[in-house]
């Protein structure tokens, strides 16, 4: 069984500062994917960033980057230069390799960006 743990339910950050959201996971698979999704208030869930487990290089998408530590089973999301539009719920998710793969989600963290 796969599990994803997001232990911090809420975080707050000042606009323009950097914040890191934590995620740990457990899986017996060697090949898998990790994702961070963003759900703004009353809006649709969207993908923020993706990391393939076989890649050693950490994924980056503009102001968003991850720190992927495979041995420690840790997958944190760093948001640089936080903006008010980053206020949202963030979910960490894990999916195993394979045609009928499904995702296991963490409980999510509510991030508030203060002006």
């Amino acid at each position: 069984a796969q599990t994803v743990t997001q232990s911090q339910p809420e975080m707050s950050v000042q606009e323009a500062e950097t914040v890191t959201l934590s995620c740990t996971y457990d899986t017996s698979e060697n090949n898998y994917y990790l994702f961070w999704y963003k759900q703004p208030p009353s809006r649709q869930m969207i993908l923020v960033i993706r990391q393939e487990a076989y890649k050693q290089q950490n994924a980056t998408e503009n102001r968003f980057s991850v720190n992927f530590q495979k041995a420690a089973k840790s997958f944190s999301l760093k948001i640089s230069d936080s903006q008010l539009g980053d206020t949202a719920m963030y979910f960490c998710a894990l999916g195993r390799w394979g045609a009928n793969s499904k995702l296991t989600f963490g409980k999510g963290i509510t991030l508030s960006v203060r002006p």
Binding site: I46, L47, R50, G95, N100, G108
Partner: protein, 112 residues
């Protein structure tokens, strides 16, 4: 752009009613999913389908059924709605060779 639509944003039903939640995707994706989202519990998978007429139970299938007669449409059915099924329901889809899922806007269902 992938588009996943859900039939209603808000729905209010009475206990015991049969409820249909519809999800349609326009990108010919093989895989479709139904989740419920509750505060403090994250997203929990109810059912998923990897092909027309194929379905598999997720983590919390009790009280729900699904139907997938056409590739683009995946329906979630509450045979007899109960108050503990009050929740946000999210539909998602993905193609076979890509692992990220694309989500619909969600349906907030209230059962009174």
């Amino acid at each position: 752009d992938v588009k996943v639509t859900q039939s209603s944003r808000y729905l209010v039903k009475r206990t015991g009613e049969k409820v249909f939640l519809e999800c349609v995707q326009d990108m010919d994706h093989e895989n479709m999913f139904w989740y419920r989202q509750d505060p403090g519990l994250g997203l929990r998978l109810i059912y998923f389908s990897y092909d027309v007429k194929m379905k598999e139970k997720g983590d919390i299938p009790e009280g729900y059924s699904v139907s997938r007669e056409k590739k683009e449409r995946f329906s979630l059915i509450l045979e007899s709605a109960s108050t503990n099924q009050t929740s946000m329901y999210l539909c998602a889809s993905r193609p076979t060779d890509i692992y990220e899922q694309y989500f619909g806007p969600g349906t907030r269902l209230t059962v009174t």
